[in-house]
């Protein structure tokens, strides 16, 4: 057993040692502060923008067996391949690119489509029963239902019983809408006009899920309803858009009755060409009076 006196001696000794250490430590800190406070120099220039890097052209593997062959392979798709490693981890540059892509994806989800853009496209705006992005993301059911103002506005402003009702929705990527609608929408309209198909009044639906098209179909009484909607962003592009098209959609109908054209963006299907393709699909749906798996394209 250690008696009280011994214990006190030990503690005093330990405290004395600690004191000594902290003295040394404080002098170290002081020395370090001397250097850091010495001078801040401001350099000209900027940190390169990691999002400017074309990942098809970036090959970072050290001592490759056949760099050329791997590089050629990379040209087929913008995948994160051949980006090397630092120990078990990503290298700095790919790591930053990865985080930049992730941020762009989050921005695409959380930002709104610019109202000026919607106005310039000549669209009026309505909203689903969601009143914020948070509600939109947590309550998919509300994203499939229009609010009362929306129902009223559509009844008031849209041509009723059109052959084709087209509308635009933000979905999970506002960036996709901004990037593609300007080419896709007029290309669909022109294609349908050249087939002699008339189109209803297009509009914009905020906080919309794909399923909202069913209610819109019921309100307008359209033969074919087509929504152009932002896709859930990935790390390759945040600007990919889809078109979901259905013949006489009704609330509660099976998902299999929708025809979809996805991957519409500048690196995927060229938006204007996609629009022309969608117009043809709509024509086929009208001719066959069927969509989704009921229609063999």
């Amino acid at each position: 057993m250690v008696n009280e006196n011994d214990l006190r001696t030990i503690i005093e000794q330990v405290l004395a040692d600690m004191n000594l250490n902290s003295k040394d430590g404080s002098s170290d800190t002081a020395a370090a502060c001397d250097t850091c406070s010495s001078k801040t120099t401001i350099e000209e220039g900027f940190i390169p923008d990691v999002t400017e890097v074309d990942i098809r052209k970036q090959y970072l593997v050290k001592n490759p067996v056949n760099k050329e062959a791997y590089y050629d392979l990379k040209q087929y798709a913008p995948c994160r391949l051949g980006i090397g490693k630092a120990g078990a981890r990503y290298k700095t540059d790919p790591m930053l690119q990865f985080r930049a892509a992730h941020s762009a994806a989050q921005d695409a989800v959380f930002s709104d489509v610019d109202q000026d853009f919607i106005d310039n496209m000549g669209l009026f705006s309505v909203s689903s029963q969601c009143d914020s992005k948070d509600v939109y993301l947590t309550r998919p059911d509300l994203g499939r239902k229009l609010n009362d103002e929306a129902v009223a506005a559509i009844k008031e402003k849209c041509k009723m019983n059109p052959t084709v009702q087209i509308y635009v929705s933000d979905g999970l990527s506002s960036a996709a809408v901004a990037a593609n609608i300007g080419d896709v929408l007029p290309a669909i309209e022109q294609g349908l006009k050249s087939y002699g198909v008339t189109i209803g009044t297009p509009f914009f639906l905020k906080y919309g899920r794909v399923g909202a098209m069913d209610q819109i179909s019921e309100i307008t009484g359209a033969d074919v309803t087509c929504v152009l909607i932002g896709e859930r962003p990935g790390l390759i592009t945040a600007k990919s858009m889809s078109a979901y098209i259905a013949y006489k959609a009704t609330v509660g109908m099976p998902e299999a009755r929708r025809t979809v054209v996805s991957n519409i963006h500048s690196e995927g299907t060229i938006p204007a060409e996609a629009g022309a393709h969608i117009a043809e699909i709509i024509k086929k749906i009208l001719d066959n009076k069927a969509s989704g798996t009921d229609l063999k394209l």
Partner: protein, 476 residues
Amino acid sequence: MHETILSVGIDIGTSTTQLIFSRLTIENLATSYTVPRISIVKKEVIYRSDIYFTPLLSQTEIDAAAVKEIIRSEYQKSGIRPGDLQTGAVIITGETARKQNANSVLSTLSDMAGDFVVATAGPDLESVLSAKGAGADKISQDNREVVGNIDIGGGTSNIAFFQKGILRGTCCLDIGGRLIKVENNRITYLFPSIQKLAALHQIQIQVGDTADQNKLSRICDLMAQQLAMAIHLEEPDAFHKELYTNQGNLLPSSPTLQGITYSGGVADCIYTEKPGDVFQFGDIGILLGRAVKRYPAFSKIRVYPAAETIRATVVGAGTHTTNVSGSTISYASSRLPIKNIPVLKISAEEEQEPGLLQKALQDRLPIYETDGAMEQVAIALTGEYHTSFSQIQDLAKAIIAGAGSVLATSYPLILVIENDIAKVLGNALNYMLERKKDVICIDGIHAGDGDYIDIGEPVAAGRVVPVVTKTLIFNS
């Protein structure tokens, strides 16, 4: 989705005439959630004819009736009727293409060989087809190398080379196994350039001479040397340029060749030793094969086995002439198929600026007039510079403004584009022309100025059309 197209290849060469049938499988490679991407996924040769000596009436005339009889009997043997075919090519190659009646033979056969079969020839095309038949393009692509093919036939040697599967150049020179013919141990035929080549190296030779194997072997060595020069394994000498068919061009010297395949009738004598009399075929083919095999310069590069040797050209003609267009296109189906349409290619510079494009069309379309009447013509563009909707409208306006002379005829307006914009451009044109004019607007096809194009009837539920682009029918 699977669909097959039946294709025929008929090759009437200097020494042999052959036919093959092949089956091309087309498939949509895209998922059903995206825009279709229909490609040829498989090419199989399903019937190979016997190999016939090309029947000639004289040194300058093909025996059309006999050729026709050969083809007719092969159709019968195979059980395939002309009506079963969707595509293919009849090709007159090598020295035969220079015969007086080559063109009329082609048209006779073209009519018999099916509804959509093209008649074509030309040494550049032959070089490409034989190299593809031999598989040099595939070896080059698979091994990421620069690989060439020398198709040594009776009258010409056709060379094409590829870098990573992409064509880098072609040439054709008058080196072949039947440029000297031997019968009963006497020389019965001698091609003038070969006589001259021999004379330059102090070897005198004439028709009627006894066939001296040593002397002919030395001439074959000289011919092998010329081939080595043609693929830049040796520096070309002063005479070399004279051997090019129709004053054609030399092969580009870069990229440097790494491997080679041999095809054509002589190739069999390179890859394998032919036993028996060296003049068993009545020509110097066996000697030429041996000469190429032993010529030292050729050992500098790797020799690959060819997928086809004597049949390389016909297999190439039957399986590698047809492409399919892009899968989003616009066409007036009542107008298809169309054949032998000359291509007017707009330069990149002219294409970028609508004003220049309009002017280029206005300036150059009159070339396709015959006696003041406009003939059919296909306008070719890259489509790289107009991809947004509003740019497409500008492009369509410029085309309509520039192609007034085509619009005034009863012919359709035909556009052939590389980049994937044909459907939206076709829609824009149809819209602006109020569908009063038939428009055929296809993409995924590269065509050059002076090429001819054939567009077949739609396949794959009307999504794509088979397309054959050809270089000039005949180099005169």
